[in-house]
C-alpha cells in the first residue's frame, strides 16, 4: 500500500498521474460491465460472482493483515455472520412486507459483521502478534461450533435458506437470473473497493500502517494502538460482512460452512498469495485462488496440495506476493533497464516449466497410481500412464534435470537483475 500511494500524497499531483489514477478505476468498472457480455454462460457468471465476493472478502482481510499487521485465523466469522444477517433480513423483509429491495441487503450483512466485530473486537485487539492470531483461532472455532448449537439462529448444519426473488423489486429487476445478481455483486464490489481504498488514505488508515510498523512508537505520538486496531478490526468485520451478505444473495443460503476454518484459511491464502503490501494485491490473490479452486478441482483431486505448494513458494521466495513481484519491476521500467532482464527470463522459462511439469507429473502419478492405466496423466496432450516405469523415469528426469538447469538460469536472472537494478539506482529510480 505504502509505496503505491506515496505518489498520491503529493500536494500538486501532475495532471497525467491523476488521469492515470482515474483511468485504472474506470477500466476496472468497464471490465466489470463488459465481462458477462463476453462470457455469458451461467457457469462463468457464477464464477465471476464468486470472484467478486472473494475480492471484497480478501480486501477486508487485508485491512487486518496488510494495513494493520494483524494475522487472523478467524476472519470468516464476520463473513459468515454477515451472511446469516442478510439471510434473516431477507426472510424478515418477505414475511413482514417491508419495502426494502434486494440491493440494500448487503449493507445488512455488513452491519451483521460490524456488530459482532464491535462486540468481540475490543478484547481481541488488546494484543497483536501471536496472541491475536491464537485468539482469532479460538474465537473462530467457538463461533463455528456455537453455530451448530444455536439452531434457531443458524439453522444447524443445513443453514438458513431464503429466496432473493421474493423481495420488493427495484427497476423491475427480479434478481432471479444470475446475470442480475452478478451486476448487483459488481455494484457492491465497486462501492466496497472504493470505500476500502479511501479508508487507506484517511488518518485512521495511515495510523493503522504506523501501528503495523511500530505499535510502541505510535503511543508516543498520541495514539492508542489498541483503539487503532479496534477500528481496523471493525472495518474489516464490516466489509467481510458485506462479502458474506453478497454470498448469501448469490447462493440464497447461509450455513455454518461460511463461518468455518476452511473459509478463514482460504481468505488468508488469497490475500497473502496476492500480496499484502499493495492495495491491489488481495484482488489478484482472490481472482487467482477462486479461479484455481474452481478450475483445479476439475483436473486433479489433490488440488489442496498444489495450493499448499504455491503458498509455501510464495512465503519463501516472494513474501510480497504476486503484487510484490510485479511491483519489483516498476523502478526498472521507469529507468528503462527492464529490457536487460527479459532475455534471462525467457531463457529461464523452459527449464522452469520443465521442472514444474516434473513436479506435477510426480504428484499426479502418485495420486493416480491406484487407478493405474485407466486414469492417465495428461500433460500438454501427452498421456502418461501412472503405472508404467517410463512415466516414473520421465518425472525423475524432468524434476532433477529441470532443477539443475533451472538453477543455472535463475542465477543468470539474479545477475541480470543486479545489473539492471544498478542502472535504475544510478538513474534515481531505486533507492
Amino acid at each position: 500500500m505504502t509505496a503505491a500511494t506515496t505518489s498520491a500524497s503529493n500536494a500538486a499531483k501532475p495532471a497525467g498521474e491523476n488521469l492515470r489514477f482515474y483511468g485504472v478505476w474506470l477500466t476496472g468498472v468497464i471490465m466489470l460491465i463488459v465481462l458477462p457480455l463476453v462470457f455469458s454462460s451461467g457457469g462463468s457468471l457464477t464464477s465471476f460472482s464468486l470472484i467478486g465476493i472473494a475480492i471484497v472478502f480478501a480486501l477486508s482481510y487485508n485491512i487486518l493483515l496488510g494495513q494493520t499487521g494483524l494475522l487472523s485465523f478467524g476472519h470468516a466469522v464476520h463473513y459468515g455472520l454477515g451472511g446469516f444477517a442478510a439471510c434473516h433480513m431477507m426472510n424478515a423483509v418477505v414475511s413482514h412486507g417491508w419495502p426494502i429491495p434486494l440491493p440494500f441487503i448487503p449493507l445488512v450483512g455488513g452491519l451483521g459483521g460490524l456488530v459482532f466485530a464491535m462486540i468481540i473486537g475490543w478484547v481481541m485487539t488488546k494484543r497483536a502478534g501471536t496472541v491475536f492470531a491464537m485468539i482469532s483461532l479460538g474465537i473462530g472455532e467457538l463461533v463455528a461450533s456455537s453455530s451448530l448449537i444455536l439452531r434457531s439462529v443458524f439453522g444447524g448444519e443445513a443453514g438458513i435458506t431464503t429466496d432473493r426473488t421474493a423481495l420488493p423489486r427495484m427497476f423491475g429487476w427480479t434478481f432471479g437470473p444470475q446475470l442480475q445478481v452478478y451486476y448487483l455483486i459488481a455494484f457492491w464490489l465497486v462501492i466496497s473497493t472504493v470505500a476500502m481504498y479511501a479508508l487507506t488514505r484517511t488518518p485512521l488508515g495511515r495510523i493503522s500502517n504506523a501501528v503495523r510498523d511500530n505499535p510502541e512508537r505510535v503511543q508516543f505520538i498520541g495514539y492508542d494502538p489498541h483503539v487503532v486496531r479496534y477500528f481496523a478490526y471493525c472495518f474489516a468485520g464490516f466489509f467481510a460482512g458485506i462479502a458474506g451478505g453478497l454470498a448469501a444473495i448469490s447462493f440464497e443460503i447461509a450455513n455454518s460452512a461460511y463461518l468455518g476454518a476452511i473459509q478463514s484459511g482460504l481468505v488468508l491464502f488469497a490475500t497473502f498469495i496476492g500480496g499484502t503490501a499493495y492495495f491491489f494485491g488481495p484482488i489478484l490473490g482472490a481472482i487467482l485462488v477462486t479461479y484455481l479452486q474452481l478450475g483445479l478441482t476439475d483436473v486433479t483431486s489433490v488440488w489442496q496440495l498444489y495450493f499448499g505448494i504455491i503458498f509455501i513458494g510464495i512465503v519463501m521466495f516472494s513474501p510480497g506476493g504476486i503484487a510484490g513481484l510485479l511491483m519489483m519491476h516498476r523502478p526498472l521500467v521507469r529507468a528503462g533497464s527492464l529490457w536487460s532482464v527479459i532475455p534471462s527470463y525467457l531463457v529461464a522459462i523452459v527449464p522452469t516449466v520443465a521442472l514444474a511439469c516434473g513436479v506435477i507429473l510426480t504428484i499426479e502419478t502418485i495420486a493416480r497410481y491406484p487407478d493405474g492405466e485407466r486414469n492417465p496423466v495428461n500433460l500438454f496432450g501427452v498421456a502418461f500412464n501412472p503405472g508404467s516405469p517410463a512415466t516414473w523415469i520421465a518425472a525423475a528426469v524432468l524434476v532433477i534435470g529441470g532443477f539443475f538447469v533451472a538453477r543455472l538460469t535463475w542465477m543468470r536472472i539474479a545477475d541480470a537483475w543486479d545489473r539492471a537494478a544498478t542502472v535504475a539506482r544510478d538513474r534515481g529510480h531505486l533507492i
Partner: protein, 330 residues
C-alpha cells in the same frame, strides 16, 4: 429435537462416585496424550519462537510411518525409527524452509508452517488414502491393565501415560540441568554471542526443530493405534494443541503439562455432567417457541464439552495474556 427433555435421574450415590473416579482417570489419560502432543510444540516455541502450525501434521506423519514400519519391522523398532524419520523431515524443513523465512519475521514462519500443514495432509492421503488404517495396539500391550468399577483400563493407555511423564521429566532435565539446554537457551536470546563462543547456532536451531518434530512423531506412533489413524487426524487435533500451549503459557513446559491436565479433566468432566440451564432453573415456557435463548437454555454441558477448551483459551487470553505459566506475551 426434544425441547427441554426431562432426563431420568437414574444415578444413585455409588455410580456418582464411580463416575467421578473414572472421569478423573479418563481425564488424566487424555490430558497426558495432549501433553505428549504439545511437548514438541512447546520445545520448538520456547527455543525458537516459532509457532509451528504443522506440528499436528508431524504427529500425523508419525502415525502413518508408525503404521507402515510396524507392518515391515514390527511395532517396537517402529517406535524408534518413525520418530527419527519425522525428526529428519523436521530438520529438513528447518534447514531449507524456516531458515530462509526467518528474516521475514515470525508471521512469515507461521504462514510457512501453515502451508506445510496443507501440503502434508494431501501427501499423506495421496499415499495412504483417506480411509482409516488398521493400525493396532501391539500384542504385548493388548490386555486390560486393571479394572475400576468394572471398567477396564487397557495396558496400552498406561503405557502412553508412562511415556508422557517420562518425556516431561527428561525434557525438564535436559533443558534446565544440562549444558545442551544452556546453549540452546542462550542461542535463542543471544545468537551472535553463542556463535562467537564457537557453537553453530544454525545447527542448534535445526536440531531443536528436529527434536520437536520427532516428539510429535513419537506421539503419532503411540497415539495412532489408540485413536484413529486417518488423513484428517492432524486437522482434528491441531487446534486443541494450540489451546494447550497458549493456555499453559507459550514456551513453558510445565505450563503445557498443567494445561494438558486441566483441559483433559475439564473436557472429561464436562462430558460426565448432565446439567443444563433448563435442568438447573426449570424449562422455559414452551409457548415462547424456538429461540436462541431456548437453545442456550436447553444445551447440556456435555454437548458443549469439546468447545470448552476454546472458551477457556479466550478467557485466559483476556484475563492473563501470557497464559498460566508464561513469562512473555507473544
Amino acid at each position: 429435537m426434544v425441547a427441554g427433555a426431562t432426563r431420568p435421574r437414574i444415578f444413585h450415590e455409588c455410580t456418582v462416585l464411580e463416575l467421578i473416579v473414572i472421569s478423573t482417570l479418563n481425564g488424566v489419560l487424555f490430558g497426558m496424550l495432549l501433553f505428549l502432543l504439545s511437548s514438541g510444540l512447546t520445545v520448538i516455541f520456547s527455543m525458537m519462537g516459532v509457532l509451528n502450525f504443522a506440528h499436528a501434521s508431524f504427529y500425523m506423519l508419525g502415525a502413518f510411518f508408525g503404521f507402515q514400519l510396524t507392518k515391515w519391522i514390527g511395532f517396537w523398532p517402529a517406535l524408534v525409527v518413525a520418530p527419527l524419520l519425522v525428526g529428519a523431515i523436521g530438520m529438513a524443513v528447518e534447514r531449507y524452509g524456516l531458515r530462509n523465512t526467518h528474516k521475514h519475521g515470525h508471521v512469515a514462519e507461521l504462514l510457512l508452517t501453515f502451508g506445510l500443514a496443507f501440503a502434508i495432509e494431501e501427501i499423506v492421503s495421496m499415499i495412504w488414502g483417506r480411509s482409516p488404517l488398521d493400525y493396532r495396539v501391539p500384542a504385548l500391550l493388548d490386555f486390560p491393565a486393571f479394572t475400576v468399577f468394572s471398567t477396564n483400563y487397557p495396558a496400552y493407555k498406561i503405557f502412553m501415560l508412562a511415556v508422557s511423564v517420562a518425556i516431561f521429566v527428561a525434557l525438564l532435565i535436559v533443558l534446565k540441568r544440562t549444558r545442551v539446554g544452556l546453549i540452546v537457551q542462550a542461542a535463542l536470546t543471544h545468537p551472535h554471542m553463542v556463535a562467537h563462543l564457537g557453537h553453530n547456532v544454525g545447527r542448534v536451531f535445526m536440531v531443536v526443530f528436529g527434536v520437536g518434530s520427532a516428539l510429535a512423531g513419537l506421539a503419532g506412533v503411540i497415539a495412532g493405534p489408540a485413536l484413529v489413524t486417518q488423513s484428517d487426524m492432524a486437522a482434528s487435533l491441531g487446534p486443541i494443541l494450540f489451546v494447550v500451549i497458549v493456555f499453559g503459557g507459550l514456551g513453558s513446559l510445565p505450563g503445557a503439562f498443567i494445561a494438558s491436565l486441566v483441559i483433559g479433566l475439564v473436557q472429561t468432566f464436562a462430558v460426565a455432567l448432565n446439567g443444563s440451564l433448563a435442568s438447573a432453573f426449570g424449562p422455559l415456557d414452551p409457548s415462547a417457541g424456538p429461540s436462541a435463548l431456548a437453545d442456550i437454555w436447553n444445551v447440556t454441558i456435555a454437548q458443549v464439552a469439546p468447545i470448552v477448551p476454546y472458551l477457556l483459551l479466550v478467557i485466559i487470553l483476556i484475563v492473563r495474556p501470557m497464559g498460566l505459566m508464561g513469562t512473555r506475551e507473544s
